[in-house]
């Protein structure tokens, strides 16, 4: 390895809490070579973001302090610089991009001005020169019409374009190191592939070194040269990507690799595809014995939302779902996949009568939502339940988990009042939560525990149908794997129909027997999971599948052309 550009030695950070100091980063040592992409993986709370903030002296709270170690860059210790010197490092030598470009871009400032800001401050360019430079930079990161887009505001762009803007902001002063903190986690797979490709191109063209923080080993496998695995504030394993993925030494690294939902490909599909997955093996049997009458019947469904037009304006509407027909039979597990904005959530909401239907028919258990809205809604509320994406915000913060579950049981009236506490305990055991947690409020639980509580609440209805809307998207990979396994067990042991909405195709491939691919409010392809994923008939499906970063470094990531990805 050549001389390191950045060399971190024994870096420790502690928080001064009420019970004395607690170590958050514990003697972390890392090297970054010029032109290298270093992957930093680990779960939330493992300290990977904190490490990068510490390098820029941007600790998130005054209670945190560096308790030891050095971070040498160009002969200086970054941790010893004062504020004025640090301002010359931030942006000019180390640039940073973030997970959520929407919240990190100033909503009331033009995108171009935010890019130009660093140029004017660090390189003392005048307004016109900074603008010209910013426009050039916007072209480099993939804006199609930089002179016009310079004056646009962040909310006028899609998530992918916002992340490109964020990258342009970070690159404005030509830093040597780019820290990318989960840069693609909030993005669709196809957009993720484009952004990752852009980062690799920038590395080539500018000789940029990149520290890429991610929880997705697939992203690491596709983009990084070396990987550092972090856990509980420590670097547990560092190594060259291929060596580390092929021969992980630390047990935590092995667990991470095992929980990555990889996609089997064509040539291996006929072999035993997934030994870790007993429920998958049982699939064919379940597919064959389906009763004839569908539980949910959707016929030529249209859902439109008004978007403009006031008192005098011309009314316009946006078609979230257009001409969708779908039948779901009892006992099926159906995955609905597609990018954000493809209408999958709207379809799910229409299925449960949560959004007004503009045209077409939705029937639940033979009752039409249009024909007998009262009876159909009553039946849906008694026999169907939903699990939401955000486990915290979908639970009432003022109620304990036990109260939340008891409320559902009381309203449903299927369980005698005296039997409610016992049933609550039973539900918690069902989702593998310690019944002692019934007295806790959502904020006192972890994300995974909260989502289990959310599932328990859905099960409290004693439903025939559960609609899960992106219910694992906000969770760490290892937790994701646990929740998916929970769903598999529930579906296998109970008489349950599951509609599972996700943008993560690999998870759907794991869990579902049938898959529906949506794009622009329409179903572009549907069929048995195995068939659709192995032999996609539509170009769009194929592009979606190809964009998933595989954990095998040799299976190249294919970024779809922007026209397809929208």
């Amino acid at each position: 390895m050549s001389a390191a550009l950045l060399s971190v030695r024994d870096l420790s950070v502690a928080v001064n809490g009420a019970e004395g100091p607690r170590t958050l980063l514990d003697h972390v040592s890392l090297d970054l070579s010029p032109g290298e992409i270093l992957g930093l993986v680990g779960e939330s709370g493992s300290g990977k973001s904190l490490l990068c903030r510490t390098l820029l002296q941007l600790l998130p709270s005054r209670a945190l302090s560096v308790t030891g170690g050095t971070a040498m860059m160009g002969g200086r210790d970054l941790l010893a610089l004062d504020e004025a010197q640090m301002q010359q490092v931030r942006g000019a030598e180390i640039g940073m991009i973030f997970q959520n470009p929407s919240s990190h871009l100033d909503p009331v400032m033009r995108v171009g001005e935010q890019i130009a800001e660093g140029l004017r401050f660090h390189r003392r360019l005048d307004r016109a020169a900074a603008k010209a430079e910013a426009i050039a930079l916007m072209g480099q990161v993939g804006f199609t019409d930089p002179p016009r887009q310079f004056g646009a505001y962040p909310h006028e762009f899609s998530g992918g374009m916002r992340q490109r803007a964020m990258i342009a902001v970070a690159l404005a002063c030509d830093p040597k190191i780019l820290i990318a903190d989960e840069p693609t986690t909030a993005l669709d797979v196809t957009i993720q592939a484009q952004i990752l490709r852009l980062l690799m191109e920038l590395r080539e063209s500018r000789g940029l070194s990149i520290i890429l923080i991610t929880h997705d080993l697939g992203v690491v496998a596709q983009t990084c040269d070396r990987v550092a695995v972090m856990r509980q504030g420590q670097v547990v394993e560092v190594g060259e990507k291929r060596a580390l993925l092929a021969h992980p030494r630390h047990s935590y690294t092995r667990a991470l690799i095992a929980s990555h939902p990889s996609m089997p490909v064509d040539d291996e599909a006929d072999e035993v595809d997934d030994v870790t997955d007993p429920a998958d093996a049982a699939d064919p049997a379940r597919v064959v014995v389906l009763p004839s009458r569908p539980l949910v019947e959707i016929d030529d469904l249209d859902v439109r939302f008004p978007v403009a037009g006031g008192l005098f304006g011309r009314r316009r509407s946006f078609s979230a779902v257009a001409g969708v027909s779908l039948q779901i039979r009892p006992g099926e597990t159906v995955g609905i996949v597609g990018e954000s904005g493809s209408g999958k959530s709207t379809l799910a909401r229409a299925m449960l009568g949560l959004t007004p239907v503009s045209d077409g028919h939705v029937a639940f258990d033979g009752l039409s939502l249009r024909g007998q809205p009262g009876a159909a809604l009553a039946r849906i509320r008694q026999q169907a339940a939903m699990v939401f994406q955000d486990p915290f915000n979908s639970l009432n913060p003022r109620l304990t988990i036990g109260q939340t579950l008891a409320e559902v049981l009381r309203v449903q009236g299927k369980v005698a009042p005296a039997a409610i506490p016992a049933r609550v305990e039973e539900l918690l055991r069902l989702v593998e939560l310690d019944p002692a947690l019934a007295g806790r409020r959502p904020r006192q639980l972890s994300g995974g525990q909260c989502q289990r509580a959310g599932i328990a609440r859905a099960l409290a209805v004693d439903p025939r149908l559960i609609v899960a809307d992106e219910c694992v998207a906000a969770l760490d990979v290892t937790i994701q794997a646990q929740i998916v396994a929970l769903f598999q067990r529930l579906v296998a042991t109970m008489d349950l129909t599951l509609v599972f909405i996700a943008h993560d195709l690999a998870i759907v491939r794991h869990l579902c027997t049938r898959v529906v691919v949506m794009h622009h409010g329409r179903i572009v392809e549907e069929g048995l999971c195995a068939e659709v994923f192995e032999r996609p008939r539509e170009a769009y499906t194929a592009a979606l599948i190809a964009a998933i970063p595989d954990i095998d470094p040799d299976r190249r990531l294919i970024a779809p052309p922007p026209a397809l990805a929208v």
Partner: protein
């Protein structure tokens, strides 16, 4: 510029609002017990004289017909005759509108001048003594009622240390501003605390926001982070709060103008109520209502200008 198209269409919505306000004030004023003719002529007036006066002012017609006359007059720019001042109410209000308008404008400007720097100082030193001091003092501003505060200021700055005139209004611009200083300060001390608290809270949030972190991460010094990113974002929620408070303030001028003997609409209103000059009460009420609607309209324009995401 599509976002600003509501500036042309929104005033059309004012027509029914003003119409409704006029109907409500018209009917309610006539439901107040007491007869203007009797007040005008005194207790010993003959029934004939009262009947004459009632006929002269159209008070003997059915109420719906009176309202139609009122609307017809309004179309001609008249609001009916003041019984006390013997001139048209709209013209009367025209002579009184300037002190009130100047008072509200000065109060609001002064409040902003007090609130923004103090909020900035408190937010940037969150949790430090200066922050606690500013918040402590601002609690007093909310606690003290304006009529008491006005009297104290008058005693201190006009009587004990005669820096400013005690009361009244002037003729030249300089005199007018000198006379407006005390009442404006009285209002501003109350109003600025409300703004200060809202602004400080928003600034504290935005200082911790991802936007601020991102700006720091590209090497922006704290002053740029604050003035270019935190302040513009913090102002947005305060605009509507200010608009609501100006609406309240327009009604509040009644008290302040009485204390400082400012010849404005508030003072006019108080006298009109005592003399049962119903035409004036109704006219002032309508002007106050319209002013409130207008202020909220201006606040909408300001919100759209301050936040590019807002569509109206």
């Amino acid at each position: 510029m599509r976002r600003y198209s509501f500036i042309l269409t929104r005033p059309l919505q004012f027509v029914p609002v003003v119409f409704g306000v006029s109907l409500v004030t018209f009917v309610l004023v006539r439901m107040i017990p007491g007869d203007p003719a009797r007040v005008l002529l005194g207790a010993r007036a003959t029934p004939t004289a009262i009947a004459n006066i009632r006929a002269q002012y159209g008070l003997d017609e059915p109420i719906w017909l009176q309202y139609l006359y009122f609307l017809r007059n309004l179309a001609h720019g008249e609001m009916g005759m003041s019984i006390v001042y013997k001139i048209d109410v709209l013209r009367l209000i025209g002579t009184r509108i300037e002190p009130t308008f100047a008072l509200v404008l000065c109060s609001v400007l002064l409040s902003i001048l007090i609130a923004v720097p103090l909020a900035a100082l408190a937010a940037r030193n969150q949790g430090r003594p200066i922050d606690h001091a500013i918040r402590f003092v601002s609690t007093f501003g909310i606690g003290f009622p304006p009529f008491w505060l006005g009297l104290m200021l008058m005693m201190l700055l006009a009587v004990k240390f005669p820096l400013l005139p005690v009361s009244g209004y002037g003729d030249t611009l300089g005199e007018k501003l000198a006379h407006l200083a005390l009442p404006s300060l009285t209002i501003a001390l109350s109003l600025s605390t409300v703004l200060l608290r809202s602004l400080r809270a928003a600034m504290v949030d935005w200082l911790k926001s991802d936007v601020a972190t991102a700006a720091r991460a590209r090497g922006m010094p704290e002053s740029i982070v604050f003035w270019r990113h935190v302040l513009p974002n913090s102002i947005v929620p305060t605009i509507n709060l200010l608009a609501v408070n100006i609406g309240w303030l327009i009604g509040g001028t009644v008290v302040i103008e009485s204390i400082f003997a400012l010849p404005g609409m508030g003072q006019l209103l108080v006298r009109a109520i005592f003399s049962r000059d119903y035409m004036v009460v109704q006219g002032v009420a309508m002007v106050f209502a319209c002013a409130t609607v207008l202020v909220n309209f201006l606040a909408d324009i300001a919100t759209v200008a301050a936040d590019p995401r807002v569509k109206l």
